[in-house]
């Protein structure tokens, strides 16, 4: 009989005897056990403290500052409350629409094509070839992630620079007679998606590989016996079996992409219409050419990201039926 650490009201009257943890905490609810009502605090307390200090508190500060006119002109001492002025400014700012548009394009295509799509393809491919080859291939895909980001971006810039400095242009396009150009500027969206995607794919690849390799051999072999081809195995066996990692990678990478901007900053610094929302917030609040900062407005922009991220979290949890996945195993309630 398994051990169940999760409490719920339905377990309160469960007559099934659960084992004790050998003198540790009694997890069974009961009036004689040590503060059973608050047991969860002992387990969750440290994690909750970290979340409170490093997430909840900064978020509260972000929202508080967003209601002020704090900027380089006021310093941290001479600011005043301005109500919703910064939030109204976001909705009336003529550049807001463009930043939303580029953010959606960047997040959607990087996520679908690379962080989840390519990651899944790589995981499936490398688990269906000899183990050593699969390992080597995956190791190769980790190189972009372990390369220092400044070096990585510098490589891309010289790959995509105009002739005679750019490798693509000088060694491929020019000899073939194509017109050469600064490729980052010519194809800015493709550039930021590729640069981020090549890093992002490796994360999902590792998670999916591990999940695929954990699928019971019996199930996989059964599908072969039943005559399933590779596409059917992917559709009917692999995808359903790795639903949880899929949900995790999709959620995690969506939130990461919405708030990430460092590769874009180093590659284009927002030029050619590539200033995603988070980079806009960074430029307004923390870094720009003249070093004049609008902390209040920047925090309102960051506040939008927090709200969007929370909304996405809720949507994903609903869409992937998170609550179904963490339901107690039926065997426990027999």
């Amino acid at each position: 009989m398994g051990f169940k650490a999760r409490h719920s009201s339905s377990t309160a009257g469960n007559p099934v005897q659960k084992p004790n943890l050998g003198g540790g905490f009694n997890l069974r609810p009961g009036k004689n056990s040590l503060g059973n009502k608050y047991d969860w605090l002992l387990f969750m307390g440290p994690a909750m403290l970290l979340v409170a200090v490093f997430f909840i508190t900064p978020v509260i500060i972000v929202f508080i500052i967003s209601f002020t006119n704090m900027s380089s002109l006021t310093g941290f001492s001479n600011w005043s409350w301005i109500g919703f002025e910064n939030w109204i400014k976001i909705f009336t700012h003529p550049q807001s629409g463009q930043h939303v548009e580029v953010t959606i394009i960047y997040v959607f295509f990087t996520l679908i094509l690379f962080n989840v799509g390519l990651a899944l393809v790589l995981a499936i491919l490398t688990t269906h070839i000899p183990k050593a080859a699969g390992f080597a291939f995956r190791a190769l895909w980790l190189v972009p992630r372990i390369t220092p980001v400044v070096v990585y971006i510098m490589m891309w810039r010289y790959l995509m620079a105009d002739s005679p400095y750019g490798i693509f242009n000088e060694l491929i396009f020019r000899p073939l007679g194509f017109e050469t150009s600064e490729m980052v500027a010519a194809y800015p969206y493709i550039a930021i998606i590729l640069v981020n995607g090549f890093i992002g794919a490796s994360f999902g690849m590792i998670i999916f590989t591990s999940a695929i390799e954990s699928i019971s051999k019996d199930i996989m072999n059964s599908s072969l016996v039943d005559g399933a081809n590779i596409l059917q195995r992917i559709k009917y066996i692999i995808i359903p079996q790795i639903k949880w990692p899929l949900m995790f990678v999709t959620t995690f990478q969506t939130l990461s992409l919405i708030t990430s901007f460092e590769q874009i900053m180093l590659l284009t610094d927002g030029a050619y219409g590539t200033e995603v929302w988070s980079l806009w917030a960074y430029h307004k609040g923390l870094n720009n050419y003249f070093g004049q900062f609008q902390w209040g407005f920047g925090m309102a922009l960051a506040g939008i990201l927090v709200i969007i991220s929370i909304v996405f979290c809720i949507l994903y949890l609903k869409f992937f039926k998170f609550s179904d996945m963490i339901q107690e195993p039926k065997i426990e309630t027999l």
Binding site: S72, L73, T74, G75, F76, S77, N78, K89, T92, H93, P94, Q95, R157, Y158, A161, D162, Y165, S181, E182, M183, V184, A185, A186, T268, A271, Y272, G273, L286, N287, N288, Y289, F290, G291, Q292, F293
Partner: protein, 464 residues
């Protein structure tokens, strides 16, 4: 008994602390008072005299301070970061009361740092600052304007520069221009007889005749920078209305400027998607005589000579191949201009620096503002001098580049000391880039600028 022992033990530990503390104070009173002044500058490899000048000046000042019982030490922190990061560091440090005593910064930051109280005014008028020291009286008159804000003087000029239009003499020769015609080009540009249109036409001709590669007729600065506003001014633009203390947009000038930025691409003298080109590529290309016209700064000569063409002749190679002129006008017959961007030393307030060294800092600045120290910086970095006496100072006069570009200060305009100028510039740059890359038409670009500035600046903008 136990309690008495504990009290005795505590006294045994505490009493010597008081004794030693008293001893230190007595020691301090006996010897000279040691004061450290910290100066922060942003400096490239050739610009180290921005901070070294303070170290050298301290030696002179210490002679005076000896009788006052003070020994001054200077700690110069020279950063190579971009202006944004450098300014951010100063802002955060000032808020924490850990800023430097002296900051070397762009003059346009006076309004921002003055508003927050990070820096202190040095005098209430130009006359007052000039009367404070003979060194300050020697500063070129026009430069004080750039240190003024709300009627007070907030800084001491450190350097200034010219932003010329460089041209390849050898490429013009190949194009059929005589030496005399090439030699007369700077004067023709200054008078407004050779315009931006002429530059485009000459670039097209050079490309057509194979003198330069397509797209190499004219190279502007490759990344964001106030330099581009020279072309707004070239078409009759106005940045600032001093009387109303407001920023200004002249719509027609803005439109003509944006049309020019688009034309250089459509006419083929500048590569498609040029903006954003890596600085390393830009320096390498122009310094190796691959472009016909290219806009830069006088200080670039020093950089190219020491970091790019040092193996093929250095400064001699540059003088042999390149000439320099003002930025051509966009309106024929109207005198040319160029933008200077003086750096200044400002004195940081007590709350921001955490020190009360302001008087000493001003005395140190006096000693730094000498023709000897400033010429070290000017000659080493290719920046123009700030003192009247430098024009006749032999080491300065003997520097060919500095002496031949000094006249450009007579045609200089400056960016305004207005707190909203960064937002103003950001809107102009973002949309200029979009127009040059054909993401917007010039007309759409102008409309976008006005829309953004209405939200960002509002009443602080005059539209003409």
């Amino acid at each position: 008994m136990k309690r008495k022992s504990l009290i005795f033990l505590v006294l045994l530990l505490i009493v010597p602390l008081f004794l030693f503390a008293g001893g230190d104070q007595e020691k301090e009173a006996e010897g000279p008072k040691e004061v450290t002044i910290t100066i922060w500058t942003k400096a490239g490899e050739t610009e180290l005299w921005r901070g070294l000048a303070a170290v050298e000046a301290a030696k002179e000042l210490n002679k005076e301070l000896e009788s006052e019982g003070i020994v001054l030490t200077v700690e110069a922190v020279q950063e190579t970061a971009g202006w944004g990061d450098f300014n951010k560091k100063f802002t955060m440090a000032s808020e924490a009361g850990k800023g430097p005593d002296i900051l070397c910064t762009g003059h346009e930051n006076i309004a921002v740092y003055g508003s927050t109280g990070y820096i202190i005014p040095l005098a209430d008028s130009v006359e007052e600052i000039k009367a404070m020291a003979p060194e300050f009286d020697d500063v070129i008159e026009g430069l004080w304007d750039m240190t003024s804000w709300r009627g007070q003087i907030w800084g001491i000029p450190q350097d200034t520069e010219a932003r010329p239009m460089f041209f390849s003499k050898t490429k013009l020769n190949e194009l059929g221009w005589s030496d005399a015609k090439i030699a007369a080009l700077p004067d023709e540009i200054a008078k407004g007889n050779f315009t931006l249109d002429d530059m485009i036409e000459t670039g097209k001709e050079a490309i057509a005749k194979g003198v330069v590669e397509p797209g190499y007729g004219y190279w502007s600065r490759p990344k964001s920078g106030g330099d581009f506003i020279q072309y707004y001014m070239a078409y009759g633009g106005q940045i600032y209305d001093a009387e109303q203390d407001k920023l200004v947009i002249v719509k027609d000038a803005l439109l003509e400027w944006y049309k020019f930025q688009r034309r250089i691409v459509t006419e083929g003298v500048t590569p498609k998607n040029f903006l954003g080109t890596d600085w390393g590529i830009w320096h390498n290309t122009v310094s190796h005589n691959n472009a016909l016209f290219f806009a830069g700064g006088v200080w670039h000569f020093a950089e190219w000579a020491t970091q790019h063409v040092q193996d093929i002749g250095g400064m001699d190679y540059l003088f042999e191949n390149f000439g320099y002129a003002l930025q051509p006008t966009g309106i024929r017959g109207v005198a040319a201009q160029q933008m200077s961007h003086p750096l200044i030393y400002v004195v940081v307030a007590e709350d921001s620096s955490g020190n009360s060294n302001q008087d000493l800092a001003i005395r140190l600045l006096q000693k730094m503002t000498t023709k000897e120290l400033n010429t070290n910086h000017a000659v080493g970095s290719g920046h123009l001098g700030i003192l009247k006496s430098q024009a006749e100072y032999t080491p300065y006069k003997e520097d060919r580049l500095l002496s031949e570009t000094l006249y450009m200060l007579d045609y200089a305009f400056f960016q305004p000391n207005h707190p909203y100028y960064p937002s103003y510039w950001s809107a102009l740059w973002t949309n200029m880039e979009a127009v040059q890359n054909a993401a917007l038409t010039p007309e759409e670009g102008v409309a976008a600028v006005l829309e953004v500035l209405e939200v960002e600046i509002g009443d602080a903008l005059i539209i003409k």
